[in-house]
Every structure is written in structure tokens, then in C-alpha cells.
Symmetry: C2
Subunit: 228 residues, 2 copies
DNA sequence: TCAAAAGTGTTCAGCTTACACCCATGA
DNA sequence: TCATGGGTGTAAGCTGAACACTTTTGA
């Protein structure tokens, strides 16, 4: 942290330390990211974020930014990566600690998108400021990994859901429409990660059983696979 | 990054932005970390690291710290995590971007450890300053994941090595002595990640064939396993 | 000729994949 | 009774764990 050889005062700079948050949700069969339009750069969008306060932990700052700039609260939040190229902001030296967040669409309160803030499909992004396009890309890569070996996908689902809806979520996120229905269901059941509730959802055919996430589910990720 | 509503000047603080590097090597059948002794806090050790300069990229800063404080150069380097609790340094607000690095023991030049700097076993660490113990712990967790699905372990090996030495490396890093010899070899061969050279190494019994890492090896990490 | 370590083959259980089939509902 | 989508069963093939075995060297 501090080079023992140099006195404390020697090398301090006026930095800006910021957080940016990549917030994902599943909405209308699409994976979407929350973006705000930049007033200083018309036509460009950016991730919600801002400067970290002097007495504030990084994760707290990320939560505060979400509270202030979105209608989203109390979500799954995780650090993604720290971006610090000297040129990433042309005005001054700023490093940004990026977070990524997952929220179920039904937990977004009063979502009246306007010209300033909106949920954009990750598959059709508008022009993004700074290196925010890279942040979204990195976050998407991480999300895809995470849902394979953890229960992260459930953070994007409503409280109850059908197995088909869960499978649809996986296919949208992974951008892969080849998942086999029967095998997907077996994996989910074998993992003992969901439990049925006594309700059914109407469909075009036979009604679908509703499930909920088991909070006591534990997925031990014993990898031991070396390289594929 | 910047809140569009607030002017640029409004919220700047005197931060210190530092990098710390967790450098691993394999030496004498042990996984070791490079540590420097703190002059301001006798008996405590810390990771090599220091303040990032105003015009310097984060990764460059990490490389510079290694160059200045160690005899290690040109290594595998990757960002680990950013630690920013307001209390992590009692003297001032400093956030630290931690990196982790891997180097083969035979590439460490002129290693004459003294009382100030030395390679310590990750399994027997001395008291560490700040949150550096947590950094080492996080880096070890990451390393263990990485060698399972990537060729990272080869960064810790000499140019040529026997398969038994490679297996020993895995067992030391994973702290697991139950790897089956035959099955380990099959996995390595099937991954087409090494190729034999026409040399053999003397052992207590039949000489062991030497191998080298195949630079054209590509490990596609098609996970698709959902939860175990 | 024996110990030590390298290196290989074989079996069996369990998992994955692919695909066919049955079930419940509404029109 | 038919279309629609939910839900299940099973055979074939592959993978991984366990373990026994053969080979090559030096003492």
C-alpha cells in the first residue's frame, strides 16, 4: 500500500474515485441495462455512477448511486473491475470501480422511463460515454459465467416463476436457444434449488406449476475439472 | 462516472490510490508470497505496492512496484480486487487496487532474501499490515479457481518440467494430495496443452520425460455445467 | 534382482445428450 | 378432438474415479 521508503506526504494527487454500476434486469424477453443520458454530451449515455465520498465505503457508494439515480433498491451487488487508464476521462484523472447489480423486473418501482433514463437491451446499446461500453461487456461476460455455477440468475426472477420462464431467462442471458427442456429441468431439480408452490400459471396449454427459490439451497461448486 | 447533475469541481477529495501486488511462486515444494517488512511497524510485513502516479495506468503502476521492490520482472499479472474501506488505513483515505502475479522460481534473478524482503509460505504467513492478509487469502482463492480452468499453473513452472512436477504443483496450490497420477496425466494429455521435448530427467527410478507448455494451446472453457 | 519412480490400461458408475412420448387445458 | 405447451422416461454415449499393472533405471 504505502512504500515504506517514501514519506506519507510525498506523492498525493488530486484523484477522483468514482463508482459505476451495471444494473441488469430481465424485461420483455430481453436482458437490459439501466442507462442515463449525459447532459454534457448529447446523444451519449452512461452508467449510473458518481464520485465516492471521503468517508464512504466503495460498496456503499455504489448503493447510494443506485438509490439516487434509479428506482432500484436493495439488490444483488458485486464488484466487477476497476478501470483506471489515464486517458479514460479527458478532463481529469479519475479511476472508476465498477459494480454489477441484478434486480428482478417486478421489484423496480414506478418505472416511467423518459428521455433521460431508460432500460436498454444489452444486445442493442446506444453510444456510451468513456469506457462504459467495455464495462457493460465485461459485466455481461461475468454474468454469463456466474449463472452457470451459482444461483445468480434467481436474482433476476420474480418470487415465483415457472421452469419455462427460468429456462427462458438462461437462454436470453446466454444468448443460446439450444437448451433442451427436459435436461434443463433435470439439472434444476437435481440441484434442489427450487421448490414448488401450490399455484399454477395459465398458459396456452396445460397450466405450468409455479416454483420459488429455496433459500436454504446450497450449491457447492466443487469444480475439479481442469481444462475441458 | 460523473454525476451529470453535479459540476465537475464539486466533490474532489484528496485520495491516495495505491496498488498492491500478491506475487506467487513455487519454491521448495511450497507456495510462497513475496513480502517486505515494514519499517514503520516493526514485526509486520506487507505486500509490495505503493502510490499510483498521476499519469500512470494501474497495471503499469503494479509492474513498476514489482520492478522497484522485487527482483521479479515481466510476469503474468492480473487485477484481483479493489479494497476501499475508509478504515483500512488509519492515517488517511486510501484505496488499493490489488493485483496478483505468478512467476516461475527460476526466473527470479539474484534472490538474496534479507530481513527486509522474503518469500513466505502462504500456509505460514507472518503478521501482515492493513488488510493484506485478506488480499493474500483472496488471491489464493482466485489462483485455485484459475488453475482448474486455465493454463495459469504453467506460469509457475520452469520452461521444461516433468508431469510429476506439474502434478506436484497442482497439489501444492490446491493443498490436496489426493490427485490420482494416471487420471491427472490423462487430463493433461487430452487437453493437448503440453508437448514432449527429447530430454529426460533423472529420478530415483525410471527417468521422467520432460515436457514444455504448448504456446498454441487453446483451452476453450465451455462451462455449461450449471450447478454441480 | 530389487526398490523406486515413470508411465499405461481397464473397469464401472454416474452423468449428459438426444429424443420420444404422455398429460392437462381451452377452443 | 385438436392444438398448445407442460412435464417425464429412457437408451446411447461419454466422462471421471479407482486401481492394477507394466516399464525403465540405478544400486
Amino acid at each position: 500500500m504505502i512504500d515504506p521508503k517514501s514519506p506519507v506526504q510525498e506523492s498525493q494527487w488530486v484523484w477522483s474515485v468514482a463508482v459505476d454500476v451495471v444494473i441488469f434486469t430481465l424485461y420483455r424477453q430481453d436482458l437490459r441495462v439501466y442507462l442515463v443520458q449525459r447532459t454534457d454530451h448529447p446523444g451519449f449515455w452512461s452508467l449510473p455512477g458518481g464520485i465516492v465520498r471521503a468517508d464512504e465505503a466503495l460498496e456503499q457508494a455504489a448503493m447510494r448511486q443506485m438509490r439516487e439515480q434509479t428506482t432500484v433498491e436493495d439488490v444483488y451487488l458485486q464488484q466487477l473491475f476497476t478501470y483506471g487508464d489515464p486517458q479514460r476521462d479527458t478532463r481529469r484523472r479519475v479511476i472508476s470501480v465498477a459494480y454489477f447489480a441484478l434486480i428482478a423486473a417486478d421489484r423496480i418501482k414506478s418505472d416511467h422511463p423518459d428521455d433521460h433514463r431508460a432500460w436498454h437491451s444489452v444486445y442493442e446499446l446506444p453510444p456510451l460515454a468513456f469506457d462504459h461500453a467495455r464495462m457493460v461487456h465485461d459485466a455481461l461476460t461475468r454474468l454469463r459465467y456466474k449463472i452457470e455455477y451459482s444461483a445468480a440468475a434467481f436474482e433476476l426472477m420474480p418470487d415465483t416463476f415457472t421452469l419455462r420462464e427460468l429456462q427462458a431467462a438462461y437462454m436470453i442471458i446466454l444468448n443460446d436457444s439450444t437448451l433442451d427442456k427436459a435436461n434443463f429441468r433435470k439439472k434444476i431439480h437435481d440441484a434442489r434449488i427450487v421448490e414448488p408452490v401450490n399455484r399454477y400459471q395459465k398458459t396456452g396449454g396445460r397450466p405450468a406449476r409455479l416454483y420459488r427459490f429455496r433459500k436454504d439451497a446450497k450449491l457447492e461448486s466443487k469444480a475439479r475439472r481442469f481444462f475441458p
